[in-house]
Structures are given as structure tokens and as C-alpha cells.
């Protein structure tokens, strides 16, 4: 596949991520922070997110498996996850966390378990999408092309 085609594919894919709500404006901000002095910023931050959050999800799972669930602790974890997903623009993960927190407040165990599943699902979906995005970018760069800037038209 030649570079122009790859670039178009990337643009379409990125657009779809926004349209389907996987990404929000914050991701665009992240992209704008990337420059020659910081060429891998987006990949770095997103990787950090996935590493960090993987651990959080494990902690959440074990916290909800306790005999006496400490909802405050669960809420604290979810708050962290909500914060970091918000920082990278992973909108669907963030929204799932918002719902999760309301169940924590109600101390509704069943609701929390369901939310955990939902969050995990969104998390792995997002991870998948990001991996595809970065792979497409790498392919373009390897072929000697440049990454087209994400245009903010009407999403």
C-alpha cells in the first residue's frame, strides 16, 4: 500500500474513533503537545495509561471480591481511573467510570460488579483501538511518510 493510501486510512480511522465516542477533544490536545522536542509524547502517555490502569483494574477486581467490600476504596480506584482516562481523552472508559462511581456511592455491590465488567470491556476495546492507531502511524513513518494532523471538522 502506498503512503497516500495509508494516510487516508489513518485519517478515516481516527475520525471513526471520534465519531464512535472512543476519543474526545482531550486526545487532540495531547496530539498538539507532541512536537520535535517530544516526538513520542502521545504513545508514551497512552502506554503509561494502559500500564497504570491494568493494575487499577486488578485492584478493583480484588477489592470487589472481598467479604466486606470497602466501597470507599473501590471509589478511590475508580476515581483514579476516571482521572487518567479523562487526561488522555479515552471518553468511553471515562463515562463508564462515572456510572461506576454512582454505584459506589450507593454501595450497590451488584451494580459495581456490572460496572467493573463494563469498564474492563471499554478498557480493552480502547486498548485495541489505540494499538491499531499507533500501528497505522508506524507504517506510514516506516514508508517515509508523515502523520497527517487530525483535522477538527464536525465530528
Amino acid at each position: 500500500m502506498e503512503v497516500g493510501q495509508m494516510q487516508r486510512r489513518l485519517v478515516e480511522f481516527t475520525k471513526s474513533l471520534f465519531m464512535e465516542g472512543f476519543l474526545d477533544g482531550q486526545f487532540l490536545q495531547l496530539q498538539q503537545l507532541q512536537d520535535e522536542s517530544n516526538p513520542d509524547f502521545v504513545v508514551e502517555v497512552v502506554s503509561l495509561f494502559f500500564q497504570d490502569s491494568e493494575k487499577l483494574l486488578n485492584d478493583l477486581t480484588s477489592a470487589l471480591e472481598q467479604q466486606n467490600v470497602d466501597f470507599k476504596k473501590v471509589d478511590a480506584h475508580v476515581h483514579q481511573l476516571k482521572g487518567s482516562s479523562s487526561s488522555i481523552g479515552a471518553q468511553r472508559v471515562k463515562n463508564a467510570c462515572v456510572v461506576f462511581r454512582s454505584f459506589c456511592e450507593e454501595q450497590n455491590l451488584e451494580g459495581c460488579m456490572r460496572c467493573l465488567q463494563q469498564v474492563k470491556q471499554e478498557f480493552y476495546l480502547a486498548k485495541n483501538k489505540f494499538e491499531t492507531l499507533f500501528t497505522l502511524e508506524q507504517q506510514i513513518l516506516a514508508a517515509g511518510g508523515s502523520i497527517p494532523a487530525t483535522e477538527i471538522t464536525s465530528f
Binding site: 495531547l30 512536537d35 503509561l48 497504570d52 476515581h79 482521572g83 487518567s84 479523562s86 487526561s87 488522555i88
Partner: protein
């Protein structure tokens, strides 16, 4: 001036208002130091500017004129000698260390220049020095594509047509008004509206009764007609206010030395013009934030690694020097006296940061404003994802200067960070060649 071959010569004149009478030697040392640093900052600023404009060595002549007490003729031959002081005869109103000028002479010598002065007692002194600069950045990436237009000219058109009254007791070249009564008279009687009043701190401080009356008179005027009041101060210790006020009618403090971009940011913030940071002039919003944040040392405190990284990335993009830490305790350690941070972004949703645990925060008790932390020039901003419940009052109660949302939103960030300019001058270590000079230079 030409860039073809012959050396370029630039003459730069600076007017200085001589600082007020000091009560302690420490004040005067501070003032001397600030004066030198201002000079260095001025120096560096124009150095950077000219290096981009000219590709050949340029000779710079800088002239600084003040309206101080002057130097008696019989002592003029000794002023550059270390530890010599000019002693006024009866009342000892001016103290000093006596090394300021000898340091200046060394600096000038290092810059291949010469220094001299003319002085008339009771009128003032004019010091002049020369320096030669070589082009140091012809291949540096920083210089490429940097718009010189954006550097020196930070004027925006928002203030076109506005009228300002400057109130100062010292005779200067420009028309200024000498006291508060005259000022009010000017405001009242003029056929055009006065938008702002720039007032020397010492006039405000001299007679608090008169100042209060003046403020009342301004408040009594119709809101649309009443000018905004700015106090120009040399140092925080003399300003007596613990911070900038955002109250609509109270005066705002702007620190001297004045820099154009700083002044614009302060005026914009208080006057409420140019609230959108898209400036007329084609200056991009991020350039405005870069003007504010460049060179500032900022501490970001957040227990979430991802948030820290993103905040750091954003602030670094605007040229700030960022240090990250993940807890309140570590932050307090970093903010012990003689720290050189300009601002601290503190996540107030960290565990242990609610209610009584906010003791970690500076200013926890009204009787000891920020004593745990040396905050002499520190702007503290709360960072929260919960902007709906965050309020200015809540923040100031705990000693914060304001709040920003997480993730950062550019306009809000600009607004809150511009508070930096209402209270503090640029940190002493930035842009000053003094700190990079070897100590051996000061021998003999």
C-alpha cells in the same frame, strides 16, 4: 543599521524612577539586587532580540537614567570601587552594600564594554555602558522560525483609545500627575473618560486616610465611568497586600520592573478586555500562554502518573520548567525556604487532601498565612476535575490563589496563571547571567 558587514550600533535609553526610602539595609540590598537583575533581564531580552535580527557582532550602548539623589562630585571618582559608599552628610537615608557598581563594572568588562556616568546631586544620575554581542544562535533550532515580530511587540489593540493617568511624585519627562487630589481632579474634569489609573505605591502608602478617600470617590462614580486602579510596587514587602485582589473596585498590584507582556496580561485580566486569549495581532493563544509561562518554574502535584505526565507535557509546551511529584508531603519538602518555584499546581482531590488534611496546604490558618511553606513568590493553583463544586472562596480559604480544571483548559489556565503577574516579578534566576558567572569573578 545593516546586516551586510559593518558593526551595528544600537542606542537604548532606559528611564528609572529611583526607589523609595528604605527602612532597613536588607531592603536596600534587595533593591540593589533587583535593580541589577532587572538590568540583566533587560540586557538578555534585547540580546536575544538582536541576535535574531543581526548576524554580525553588534555594539550595544545602554543608558539608564534615574531621578535619585545623585552622586556628590567629590565622591564620583570612587563609585566603582568595591565597598565604597557615598555617605550623605546628616541624615543617613540611604544604605547600601557598596558593591553594586563594582559588580556592574566587572560584568561590563566581561562583555567587552565600558561603563561611565554623569550625575548631578538632587537631580539624578545617568549611567551608560557598552557591550559587544556576537551571534550565538545562527544554527540553533530555537532561532529558526521564531517570529521576531512576536518578541518585542506584545502590544495588543484592545487598549487603543483608552486613557490612563499615571500618578507619581517625581518629575519625569512624560506628563504625570503628582498626587491623589490632582488625579481625581483630572478624572472628574476631563472631557474624556479615564479608563485606568497607574499609581506609584509610595503615594498610596503615604497617607492611608487620603487613599481611602480616593478609593471611596472612585467607588462613588458610576461603574461604567470609574477607572480601574493599579498600584505599581517594587517589592512585595512594601506592598503590604498579601496578594492580588480580584475585587472589582479594589486596587490591583503590579510589580515593577514593568515588562510589556506582563503589563498587557495584567491589564487584560483586570480590565476584562481580551478575555478570549485569541489576541488581535495574529498572536496565537498558545503564544500568549508561552509569554506567561516561559521560564517559570512550576511544581505539579498529583498522585496519578498519567495526569502528572499530561500536565507536565502541557506546561513544558509553553516553556515552563516543570517538576513533578506525587504527594502533598513531598511537595512541602520541595517548597521549603529558598525554593525557586514560581507556581504550584496542586491536585486537591488527592487522598488526604480533603477537610482537615488540607493542613498540608499553605495558609491553613488565617493567623499564619503560609508559614509552613516559603511562598514568597509562589502562586498556588488548585487542580480539580470537579469544577462544578470548586469555587474561588473554597480555594482562597485554604490559601490557594485560584483553581484550574483537570485536564487543563487553555483560556482558564491563562486567566489563572496571569495572576502571577499581578503579584510577582519574574524569578530572579531566570535570564540573569549573574547566576552563571564563576564566583572567582568577584575576587578583588
Amino acid at each position: 543599521m545593516n546586516s551586510a558587514g559593518s558593526p551595528n550600533v544600537v542606542l537604548l535609553c532606559v528611564l528609572l524612577f529611583y526607589p523609595p526610602v528604605f527602612s532597613t539595609i536588607a531592603d536596600k540590598i534587595d533593591q540593589d539586587r533587583e535593580f541589577l537583575y532587572s538590568l540583566c533581564a533587560l540586557f538578555s531580552y534585547y540580546n536575544n532580540l538582536f541576535q535574531q535580527l543581526f548576524s554580525n557582532p553588534i555594539n550595544l550602548i545602554i543608558s539608564v537614567e534615574d531621578t535619585g539623589i545623585g552622586i556628590p562630585p567629590e565622591t564620583q571618582s570612587r563609585v566603582f570601587t568595591p565597598f565604597m559608599q557615598v555617605r550623605p552628610s546628616i541624615s543617613r537615608t540611604h544604605e547600601g552594600t557598596g558593591i553594586g557598581l563594582s559588580i556592574s563594572k566587572c560584568l561590563v568588562g566581561l562583555m567587552n564594554g565600558e561603563i561611565g556616568f554623569v550625575s548631578i546631586p538632587q537631580v539624578g544620575s545617568t549611567f551608560t555602558f557598552t557591550a559587544v554581542f556576537n551571534d550565538a544562535c545562527s544554527t540553533s533550532k530555537k532561532c529558526k522560525g521564531q517570529q521576531v515580530k512576536g518578541q518585542g511587540d506584545s502590544g495588543t489593540s484592545e487598549f487603543h483609545g483608552m486613557k490612563a493617568v499615571v500618578v507619581d511624585t517625581r518629575p519625569v519627562r512624560a506628563n504625570v500627575v503628582a498626587d491623589l487630589n490632582q488625579c481625581f481632579h483630572t478624572i472628574q474634569s476631563g472631557n474624556c473618560r479615564i479608563d485606568m489609573v497607574l499609581l506609584e505605591w509610595e503615594i498610596w502608602d503615604k497617607d492611608s486616610g487620603l487613599s481611602a478617600i480616593f478609593l471611596d470617590k472612585l467607588r462613588d462614580m458610576k461603574p461604567r465611568v470609574s477607572p480601574r486602579l493599579f498600584l505599581l510596587s517594587n517589592s512585595i514587602s512594601s506592598s503590604g497586600m498579601s496578594g492580588a485582589t480580584t475585587d472589582a473596585t479594589g486596587p490591583s498590584v503590579i510589580m515593577k520592573p514593568l515588562r510589556a507582556s506582563m503589563l498587557v496580561a495584567s491589564l487584560q485580566r483586570v480590565m476584562g478586555v481580551g478575555n478570549r486569549i485569541s489576541c488581535s495581532n495574529g498572536e496565537s493563544p498558545s503564544l500568549s500562554l508561552r509569554n506567561l509561562l516561559r521560564g517559570r518554574k512550576i511544581l505539579v502535584v498529583d498522585d496519578n502518573k498519567v495526569n502528572l505526565r499530561v500536565a507536565e507535557g502541557a506546561l513544558r509546551k509553553y516553556g515552563a520548567d516543570v517538576v513533578c511529584t506525587d504527594s502533598g508531603e513531598k511537595a512541602i519538602d520541595l517548597l521549603r525556604p529558598l525554593h525557586d518555584f514560581d507556581a504550584c499546581f496542586m491536585d486537591i482531590q488527592m487522598p488526604g487532601m480533603d477537610g482537615p488534611s488540607k493542613e498540608f496546604l499553605p495558609g491553613q490558618s488565617s493567623s499564619e498565612p503560609r508559614e509552613n511553606i516559603s511562598n514568597f513568590h509562589l502562586l498556588i493553583l488548585a487542580v480539580t476535575a470537579d469544577v462544578i463544586h470548586a469555587t474561588h472562596e473554597e480555594c482562597t480559604k485554604y490559601g490557594m490563589d485560584g483553581y484550574v480544571s483537570k485536564p487543563f483548559e487553555a483560556e482558564q489556565l491563562f486567566r489563572e496563571v496571569s495572576l502571577l503577574f499581578l503579584v510577582t516579578p519574574l524569578s530572579n534566576d531566570v535570564e540573569c547571567p549573574l547566576s552563571s558567572l564563576p564566583p572567582s569573578m568577584f575576587k578583588g
